[in-house]
C-alpha cells in the first residue's frame, strides 16, 4: 500500500508521518509540491492514497487535484487534503472534486488514523487469511 504525502514543509511532512504512525504494509512516499507529485504519478508511481497540502509553490493542492480528476488514469485516486486553515468556498470546491477527507493541521494521531484506516484498501486481510491457513489450528 502506498501513501503519497505532498507538502512543501519538511516538518509538516514528518509530523504527518508521525501522526499516521507505523502501519504494517504501508509505505509512505513524499513529494515537495504538486508538480513533483504529478510528475511521479505520471511516471508510474502507483499510490493508493494521496495526502496533499493546499498552499505550495509551483503547483498547489487544488490544481493538483483538478488535474488528477481530469486524467483518465489518475482520476480514481483517493485524495485527502491537509491544511492549517479551512475556508468554506475552498471546501465546497474540494467536495466537487470528490476528495475523501480533510485533515486540519496540527495533526491529531487519533483523528488522522481514524480518517485514513477506512480509506486504505484492506490489503493485510488477504495476507492474514493466508497466514491463518498456514498456521496449525
Amino acid at each position: 500500500m502506498k501513501l503519497l504525502i505532498i507538502d512543501d514543509d519538511i516538518i509538516a511532512r514528518n509530523a504527518l508521518r508521525e501522526s499516521i504512525g507505523p502501519v504494517e504494509g504501508w509505505e509512505i512516499v513524499e513529494a515537495e509540491d504538486g508538480q513533483e507529485a504529478l510528475d511521479r504519478l505520471c511516471d508510474g508511481l502507483r499510490a493508493d492514497l494521496v495526502i496533499v497540502d493546499l498552499n505550495m509553490p509551483r503547483m498547489g493542492g487544488l490544481e493538483l487535484i483538478q488535474r488528477l480528476r481530469r486524467d483518465l488514469h489518475l482520476r480514481g485516486l483517493k485524495v485527502v487534503v491537509s491544511s492549517s486553515a479551512r475556508d468554506r468556498d475552498t471546501i465546497v470546491e474540494l467536495a466537487k472534486l470528490k476528495i475523501s477527507g480533510y485533515l486540519l493541521k496540527p495533526y491529531d494521531a487519533g483523528r488522522t488514523q481514524a480518517l485514513l484506516q477506512p480509506l486504505m484498501p484492506p490489503a493485510s486481510d488477504a495476507r492474514t487469511r493466508i497466514r491463518n491457513l498456514l498456521s496449525p489450528t
Partner: protein
C-alpha cells in the same frame, strides 16, 4: 662534359621544375575533384618545391641572396612538412594507419640537432635529415596506395620519389654532384608526375562524361609534350642568348688584350731574355709594375701577364703577381700545361681567345695578343676565371629562363582555371537539369492528381444527384455506400498529399514512445490481409523469433510505412501473393535494427526506373497511373518517413516476377515495463450497449454539426449543439452534460481557449471537470500536446468516423466509469466542513517524538536565521513569508506561543510597519530558545517512560 652540365645548372633546375609543376597541377586537380584528401597537401608540397627551384635559379646569379637564402631554406622545410601531411593522410585514407599529428615535430627537431651540431643552418642538413625522413614516409605512402588499376604505376612513382629525395640529398651534401643530382631528380620524378596526371585525367573524364573528354584537348600525353616543348624552346633561346653574349665578350676581351699589348713599350720588352736573369733587370720591374696596374684597372681579370714562344715551348716573361704571392711565376718559367691549340696560336703569333683551359692555377678563359715584331715577339695575356666567365654567361641566360618559367606557370594556371570553370559549368548544368525535371514532374503530378481527385469527386456528385431524385430504398442504400467509398478514397489522396508535403518540408514531427511491435504491425497485416483476400492473393507474415517485444519509436508512422508498402504490393500483384518478413538484429548500442521485407509476385519494376521510384511524383510511367491508379506519392512518403526516422529503404525487382522492398530501421529497445500491452479498448470489437449520454457538440460548420448529430443519435445518445466557444460555455452553465465534443478551430474563441475557460472555473454552474473530446484536423504530436495541455481529456481527428466516435465514447465509459473517484460515498461539503473543525482541546495533542522535536529545532533555527537576514535586508515580503512558514509548523509540536509570535510578526511584516519588528524578532528568538529547552525536556522522559 661534366663542366658543361655544371654550367647549365639553371637549365637543369628549370627542367626539374617543369616535372614538379606537372605533378603539382595534377595534384591540385585531383584535390579539386575530391578524388583524394591527400592530393591537396601533395599539391602544396609541389608548389613549395617550385618556389625552392625558383629561388635556386635566382641565387645562382647572386640575386637578392640575403632574402632568397632564408626563403629557400624555409620553403624547403615547409615543403617537407606538407609532403609529410599528404603522406599521413594517404596512409590513413588507404590503409587506415593512424600516424599522430605530432610526427610533424620530427623534421624540425632533426634540423635543430643538425644546426646545434654544425653550428650553422645548412641546406645539406635539411635535405639529408628532413628529406630523408619525409622521403621514406612518402615512399611508403605512395607504395601502399590502394589503386584499383595500374598498381605498378604507383610503385614506380613511389620508388621515383624516394630516389629523388635520395639524389637531392647527395647533391646537397656534395656541391660537385649538384648538377647531376638535379638532372637525375627530374628523371626520377617523372613517373610520379605521369601517374598523378593520368589519375587526374581519369578522374576528370569521369567528372565530365560529356565531351570534351580531356583537360587539354589533344591526347593523353599532351601536357607532357607541351611542357617539354616549352622547356626545350626556352632552353634553346637561353643557349642562343648565352652564345651570343659569350661571343661578344670574347671579342671584347680580345680587343682589350690587343689594346694593352699596344701600350707595352717595345724597348723594355727587347731588353728581356726570357730567363731567370730578367728578374735583375730594371726593365722587368717596369713591366711588372705595368702588369700590376693593368690588373688593378680591370677587376674582372685574374692574371695579366706577358709570355713568349721560345724553342717550342711557352715561357712566362712578366706576370701581375707580386713576388710573395703563391701564384707568382718567375721569368722564364715554362707553361707546361699549354694545350695544343694554344701553343699553335702562340707560334703563329696571332691574337686569340681560348678556354676554358685548366692548368696548375685553375680553369681559365685566356685572351692573348701578340706584341712587337721580329727579334723578340711576345704575347700580352689576360686570364679570366672560367667560373666568373660562366656566371656572366648564365646571367645572359636568365631573361629567357624567366620568360620560360612565366610561360610554364601560365600554362599550369590556365589549365587549373579552365578546369574550375568547367566544373562550375557542370554543376550549373546539373542543377538546371534537375530543376527542369522537378518542374516537369510537378506538372505531371498536378495533371495526374487533378484526374485522381476528379474521379471520386465526380462519382460523389453524380451519386448525390441520383439520390436527390428519390430512388427506391435499395438503390438509395447502394448509392450512399458507393458515394462513401469514393469520398474515402478522396480523403486518402488528400492525406497522401499532405503527408508528402510535410515530409518534404521536414515539418513532420515524430513521436518516440514505447510500443509493442507484434500487435501494432499485426493489426496492419490483419487489415491488409482482408484486402489481399478480396483480390484472391495470399499474405504471409514471418516473424523472427528473437524480435524484441517492445521498441521505442513512432508506431503510427511505422504502420503507415508498412501500410503503404502493402498497398503497393497488393495493387501491383494480380496472381500469387505477398510475403512479409519482420525481423532484425540487435546492435551494440542497445538499438534493434528492425528489418522488414515485403516481397510480392507482381508486375515488378524495370531496372531503369528502379532508382527513381522513391522520388516524388514518380511512377514507373504515366501508363502505370492509368492502369493501377494512385498518386505515386506512397513510396516517396515511405522514403521520407524512413529517412526522418533514421532508417532506409531499398528495392530489388525482376520485371514480371515481382519486387522486394527492404526496410531497415534502427530503433531503441524498450523495457518490458515501459510498453504496456495494448488493452482491449483499442481493439476493433467494442461493446455496443452504451448508456445514453448527453453530449454537447461545439462545432461551427453546419454540415459537420448535422453529421455529428446524426451519427451520435444513431449511437443512441442525446445531442445538443453550440456554434462557437462562448455559446458552448453558455449552454454548459445552463445544462448538465456528460461529454463535450469540441472543435479545435472555431471563429472567435477557439476550442482550446474554451476548454481553458471551462477548466479555469470562470463559468459558474458549469462542471469544471467535464469530459472534453477535442476534434482536430491536424493530428500531429504537437496538436495532441496542445489539446491535452489546454485541459481536453481526449481528441479525435476530423472528420471523425462513426467507429472512431464510438471508440472514443467507449474510452470515456471505461475510464471515467471505472475510475470515477469512490463509489459515491465521498463526503459532501457539509461533512468535509465538519471533518475539518479544529479539536476542542488543543492539549489533547500527543507530544512530538524526539526525532520530530529535533527536526523542528534544527529547521526552525535555520528559518530564524533566514528571518534575521531578510530583516537585515529590510525585505518585508521575505520576512512575512518565513514567519508564515514558522507559524505553520509550530502547532505540529505544540509550541503555541512561538506560533502566535510568528503569526504576529507575519501580520506586522504584511502591514509594512517595520518599527516594532526588531523587538518582536528578539521576543521570537527568546521564545524559540525556551521552546528548544521545553522540547528537549519533553523528549527525554517520553523516551524513557515506556520501558
Amino acid at each position: 662534359m661534366p663542366i658543361e652540365l655544371e654550367s647549365r645548372l639553371d637549365l637543369l633546375i628549370l627542367a626539374q621544375g617543369a616535372v614538379i609543376g606537372l605533378w603539382t597541377t595534377a595534384s591540385f586537380g585531383l584535390a579539386r575533384h575530391g578524388a583524394s584528401k591527400s592530393a591537396l597537401w601533395f599539391g602544396w608540397a609541389g608548389a613549395a618545391w617550385l618556389l625552392v627551384g625558383f629561388s635556386q635559379i635566382l641565387l645562382l646569379n647572386h640575386i637578392l641572396p640575403m632574402l632568397l637564402e632564408p626563403l629557400l631554406m624555409l620553403s624547403l622545410a615547409i615543403s617537407f612538412n606538407l609532403l609529410l601531411e599528404g603522406s599521413r593522410r594517404a596512409l590513413r585514407e588507404d590503409r587506415g594507419w593512424m600516424i599522430p599529428v605530432t610526427v610533424h615535430a620530427l623534421p624540425p627537431l632533426f634540423y635543430l640537432f643538425w644546426m646545434v651540431y654544425h653550428g650553422a643552418p645548412s641546406l645539406a642538413g635539411l635535405w639529408i635529415l628532413g628529406g630523408g625522413f619525409v622521403g621514406a614516409v612518402a615512399t611508403v605512402a605512395l607504395w601502399c596506395r590502394r589503386s584499383q588499376v595500374r598498381g605498378y604505376e604507383a610503385r614506380l612513382a613511389a620508388l621515383g620519389l624516394g630516389g629523388y629525395m635520395l639524389t637531392r640529398s647527395i647533391g646537397a651534401l656534395d656541391g660537385q654532384w649538384q648538377a647531376q643530382a638535379t638532372l637525375a631528380g627530374a628523371g626520377l620524378l617523372l613517373p610520379l608526375a605521369i601517374r598523378s596526371w593520368s589519375k587526374y585525367q581519369r578522374v576528370h573524364a569521369a567528372a565530365f562524361p560529356s565531351a570534351p573528354r580531356r583537360p587539354w584537348q589533344w591526347g593523353a600525353t599532351s601536357p607532357f609534350v607541351l611542357v617539354a616543348t616549352v622547356v626545350v624552346l626556352g632552353w634553346l633561346a637561353a643557349e642562343w642568348r648565352a652564345a651570343r653574349s659569350e661571343h661578344r665578350r670574347r671579342d671584347e676581351i680580345a680587343l682589350r688584350a690587343q689594346l694593352a699589348a699596344a701600350a707595352v713599350p717595345n724597348s723594355l720588352l727587347q731588353q728581356l731574355e726570357g730567363t731567370f736573369v730578367d728578374a735583375e733587370k730594371p726593365a722587368y720591374h717596369q713591366l711588372k709594375k705595368l702588369m700590376s696596374d693593368l690588373r688593378a684597372a680591370n677587376p674582372d681579370l685574374r692574371f695579366v701577364l706577358l709570355s713568349k714562344w721560345h724553342e717550342g715551348e711557352v715561357r712566362f716573361l712578366v706576370d701581375s703577381e707580386p713576388a710573395g704571392s703563391p701564384d707568382y711565376s718567375p721569368p722564364g718559367d715554362v707553361y707546361s700545361e699549354a694545350p695544343l691549340d694554344y701553343a699553335q696560336a702562340m707560334r703563329e703569333a696571332r691574337s686569340f681567345v681560348l678556354g676554358p683551359i685548366t692548368d696548375r692555377w685553375g680553369t681559365w678563359i685566356i685572351a692573348s695578343a701578340p706584341i712587337g715584331h721580329g727579334v723578340n715577339p711576345a704575347h700580352m695575356e689576360f686570364n679570366v676565371a672560367a667560373h666568373d666567365w660562366a656566371g656572366q654567361v648564365r646571367l645572359a641566360r636568365l631573361p629567357s629562363l624567366l620568360v620560360t618559367v612565366c610561360v610554364l606557370g601560365m600554362l599550369m594556371t590556365t589549365q587549373q582555371a579552365r578546369d574550375r570553370v568547367r566544373l562550375a559549368l557542370l554543376h550549373l548544368r546539373t542543377a538546371k537539369d534537375s530543376a527542369e525535371t522537378a518542374n516537369r514532374a510537378k506538372s505531371e503530378f498536378l495533371a495526374v492528381m487533378s484526374h485522381e481527385i476528379r474521379t471520386p469527386l465526380g462519382a460523389v456528385i453524380g451519386l448525390l444527384e441520383l439520390l436527390r431524385h428519390d430512388p427506391p430504398l435499395e438503390e438509395r442504400k447502394r448509392y450512399a455506400t458507393l458515394a462513401r467509398g469514393s469520398a474515402e478514397s478522396l480523403l486518402s489522396i488528400l492525406d497522401d498529399i499532405l503527408d508528402s508535403s510535410k515530409v518534404e518540408s521536414g515539418k513532420l514531427s515524430l513521436e518516440e514512445i514505447p510500443f509493442v511491435v507484434r500487435p501494432e504491425l499485426g493489426r496492419v497485416l490483419g487489415a491488409m490481409g482482408i484486402r489481399a483476400r478480396e483480390k484472391h492473393l495470399y499474405l504471409h507474415a514471418r516473424w523472427a523469433t528473437d524480435l524484441p517485444r517492445a521498441l521505442r519509436g513512432d508506431p503510427t508512422r511505422l504502420k503507415q510505412v508498412l501500410t503503404n508498402l502493402l498497398n503497393n504490393a497488393i495493387k501491383f500483384t494480380s496472381r500469387g501473393g505477398i510475403t512479409v518478413t519482420i525481423g532484425g538484429a540487435p546492435r551494440d548500442d542497445g538499438h534493434w535494427e528492425l528489418d522488414i521485407q515485403v516481397s510480392d509476385t507482381g508486375v515488378g519494376i524495370p531496372a531503369e526506373v528502379l532508382p527513381k521510384i522513391f522520388g516524388r511524383f514518380e511512377q514507373a510511367d504515366a501508363s502505370t497511373t492509368r492502369q493501377f491508379g494512385g498518386t505515386g506519392l506512397g513510396l516517396s512518403i515511405v522514403h521520407g518517413l524512413l529517412q526522418q526516422m533514421g532508417g532506409r529503404i531499398s528495392c530489388t525487382s525482376t520485371p514480371g516476377q515481382g519486387s522486394t522492398f527492404h526496410v531497415h530501421l534502427p530503433l531503441p529497445a524498450a523495457g518490458p515495463e515501459e510498453a504496456p500491452d495494448p488493452t482491449e479498448e483499442e481493439s476493433p470489437e467494442f461493446v455496443r450497449s452504451l448508456t445514453p449520454l448527453r453530449i454537447l457538440c461545439a462545432e461551427d460548420d453546419e454540415v459537420h454539426r448535422e453529421y455529428l448529430g446524426a451519427t451520435l443519435r444513431l449511437l443512441g445518445h442525446q445531442v445538443a449543439f453550440a456554434h462557437d466557444g462562448p455559446h458552448a460555455l453558455e449552454r454548459l452553465a445552463a445544462e448538465r452534460f456528460d461529454v463535450v465534443l469540441m472543435d479545435q478551430r472555431m471563429p472567435g474563441m477557439d476550442g482550446l481557449q474554451t476548454v481553458r475557460t471551462l477548466r479555469g472555473g470562470g463559468i459558474s454552474g458549469a462542471d469544471t471537470q467535464l469530459y472534453v473530446i477535442g476534434l482536430t484536423a491536424n493530428v500531429t504530436a504537437q496538436d495532441r500536446r496542445d489539446c491535452l495541455a489546454a485541459g481536453m481529456n481526449d481528441f479525435l481527428p476530423k472528420p471523425a468516423r462513426p467507429h472512431e466516435l464510438q471508440v472514443a465514447l467507449e474510452r470515456f465509459y471505461r475510464h471515467f466509469g471505472r475510475h470515477s473517484p469512490g463509489a459515491g460515498n465521498e463526503p459532501t461539503a457539509e461533512e468535509l466542513w465538519e471533518m475539518s473543525a479544529p479539536p476542542i482541546h488543543e492539549a489533547a495533542l500527543t507530544a512530538p517524538s524526539p526525532e520530530l522535536a529535533g527536526l523542528f529545532v534544527r529547521e526552525t533555527g535555520h528559518r530564524l536565521q533566514l528571518l534575521q537576514e531578510a530583516h537585515a535586508r529590510a525585505d518585508l515580503p521575505a520576512v512575512a513569508e518565513v514567519a508564515h512558514r514558522i507559524k505553520g509548523t509550530c502547532k505540529c509540536v505544540g509550541e503555541v506561543e512561538l506560533g502566535r509570535l510568528a503569526s504576529e510578526l507575519e501580520s506586522l511584516a504584511h502591514a509594512g510597519t517595520d518599527g516594532p519588528l526588531p523587538s518582536h524578532l528578539a521576543r521570537l528568538q527568546d521564545e524559540f530558545v525556551r521552546s528548544g529547552q521545553r522540547l528537549a525536556a519533553l523528549a527525554s522522559p517520553t523516551r524513557n517512560a515506556p520501558s
